[in-house]
């Protein structure tokens, strides 16, 4: 695990350098959604179970921005390091193992997902959409969905051999997760079978916990969501190691 943190340190040196350019991009998108949907669509939607529409979607923006941050890091950025920069090969020529390299990538995915989660949390706070001090737990909670999204993305990155195939992951995996996670409308309004499916959507759990903490509706259900994410992480953990080993070790 020490080695994974040495690798994380490498990523953080690079991250520090690109933080500002990264941040602007990552803030603009959720901000656009929030204002377009919140003010635009929100004018037609009167009541979201006691919340205004913008109130409803704001915590979902925190959860989804985190997901996108971890996902982009562990798809495109990891792919570039794996195939074009051969950074992983260099690490493996040192005393690192494939598991160390994967752990370093996942840790960085988690860090990015927390950083952008915090940024969006601050943005919605400034917009007056944070109601509870429970929100302060969000950065800590984001470790869980960050791990799940990083592990998923990195597994897929390990499977494919052409960068163009990453688009399929974004379109067929990440975007549907984003649309059917209860960010823009409550999952309970969907057909029964979609509601069942939502339990397999890690973003759904993340959105529910973030919303609960932001508005201060804290209940035992949140633990269930968190436990689901822990379960996903444990199940997914061996996958990227397996696929990356196949890529890196001949």
């Amino acid at each position: 695990m020490n080695m994974a943190f040495s690798i994380l340190k490498r990523h953080l040196i690079v991250f520090r350098r690109t933080l500002w350019s990264n941040m602007v991009f990552n803030v603009i998108e959720p901000f656009l959604y929030l204002s377009a949907m919140g003010f635009g669509l929100g004018a037609f939607v009167q009541d979201m179970g006691g919340m205004t529409y913008i109130q409803f979607i704001a915590p979902g923006m925190v959860a989804s921005a985190s997901m996108w941050a971890a996902t982009f890091e562990c798809t495109y950025a990891s792919f570039v390091r794996l195939h074009f920069q051969r950074t992983f090969h260099a690490m493996l020529a040192g005393p690192a193992t494939v598991a160390d390299v994967v752990a370093g990538e996942v840790l960085f995915g988690i860090v990015k997902n927390i950083v952008f989660g915090i940024i969006i949390l601050v943005v919605i706070g400034i917009m007056g959409q944070v109601q509870s001090v429970w929100s302060l737990l969000i950065p800590l909670f984001l470790i869980l969905p960050g791990a799940v999204f990083s592990l998923m993305a990195l597994s897929y990155t390990g499977i494919i051999n052409n960068i163009d195939y990453l688009n399929y992951y974004i379109t067929l995996i990440t975007t549907p997760m984003y649309l059917f996670a209860g960010v823009f409308f409550p999952v309970s309004t969907m057909p029964e079978w979609l509601q069942t499916l939502a339990w397999f959507n890690p973003l759904y759990h993340s959105v529910e916990v973030c919303r609960g903490l932001v508005v201060g509706q804290v209940s035992i259900i949140l633990w269930q969501h968190a436990a689901s994410l822990v379960f996903f992480s444990v199940v997914l953990a061996p996958l990227p190691v397996y696929f990356m080993r196949k890529r890196l070790i001949s």
Binding site: N2, V14, R86, A90, P95, I249, S250
Partner: protein, 309 residues
């Protein structure tokens, strides 16, 4: 048992394809051992097995007396310095950061890595590039930085996979000079190359590889003595234009005709005498070139009869 690396019948297969067909070698402490061969001869496969990017299919490999199965463990990788074939420097980092971060992988503290990194940049003649992004370096400077990176953990064994491929002559000589300095310091070196001159300049002992096998092994001098005569006359006449019965005539004069890469080479004990009487074979002197035999002749003799060449 003072061998620092030892291999017996080492083989590697990728499905049906045999990249390495069973090679054995022993490397002594402090020596520079080279693998010489064409692309695809199995040199890089051997290196990758030693430094842990490939698993061993058959045979065995020992590093510092420890048997490797199936892949080199991290604690053995601690004693290596690896210069891979491709420059996999970190383009997101500066020159000194590349060294610091890499030092971190070896549990070297940030401060120590920085000091050592500066020393290595000095040694490699890169100290004016300390804070430059690596993408801005020339090919030769990148190569020297990769070598500096390989030295950050004070390795006992340096593994260089084609250290000077793609470099211009000046840059190549500069790399050689640095490598000789390291050798003087007692570092064991393992290198692969397809440059004869590089092998002759650096290696104490060589293994000539072809098609996944070691064909010959020994010091450059020993290989020359063993496989060819001391002088060679290169005949610059295409084979179908050669005078009739030339092989017999050369034989009668005490020479040995070898056909390599579509050319005739006449090997002989006494170069001057053969050269002065070359007209007796029916060849014109101006079409012939006399020189001492070298490693390239050995290499061509052993491997040069490949169909595609």
């Amino acid at each position: 048992m003072s061998y620092i690396i030892q291999a017996e019948n080492l083989a590697k297969s990728y499905g049906e394809f045999l990249a390495l067909k069973g090679i054995s070698f022993r490397i002594n402490k402090g020596e520079c051992y080279g693998f010489l061969g064409h692309n695809g001869a199995g040199k890089s496969t051997t290196m990758r097995m030693i430094y842990g990017l490939s698993t061993i299919s058959e045979g065995w490999l020992e590093v510092l007396g420890e048997r490797i199965a199936p892949i080199t463990p991290p604690h053995l990788k601690q004693v290596f310095g690896i210069v891979p074939q491709e420059d996999n420097l970190d383009p997101d980092l500066t020159v000194i950061e590349n060294l610091e971060v890499y030092g971190g992988y070896f549990k070297i503290s940030g401060k120590e890595a920085r000091i050592r990194g500066q020393e290595l940049l000095e040694f490699m003649g890169l100290s004016d590039k300390t804070n430059v992004n690596v993408e801005k370096l020339s090919g030769g400077a990148k190569r020297r930085l990769v070598i500096a990176r390989a030295l950050i953990n004070k390795p006992k064994i340096i593994i260089l996979d084609e250290p000077t491929t793609g470099l211009d002559p000046q840059a190549r000589r500069l790399v050689w000079q640095k490598l000789r300095r390291l050798k003087e310091e007692g570092v064991t070196m393992l290198l692969t190359t397809h440059y004869m001159e590089e092998a002759a300049q650096l290696c104490d002992r060589l293994a000539i590889m072809n098609d996944g096998l070691i064909l010959a092994e020994g010091s450059p001098e020993k290989l020359i003595n063993e496989y060819v005569l001391p002088f060679v006359i290169e005949v610059r006449v295409s084979i179908d234009m050669l005078p009739p019965n030339i092989n017999e005539k050369i034989g009668a004069m005490g020479g040995r005709a070898e056909y390599m890469v579509d050319s005739l080479f006449i090997f002989t004990e006494n170069g001057r005498e053969m050269w002065e009487n070359i007209h007796e074979t029916g060849l014109a002197q101006h079409a012939c070139y006399l020189r001492p035999a070298n490693l390239e002749d050995v290499f061509l003799k052993l491997t040069g009869k490949r169909e595609e060449l």
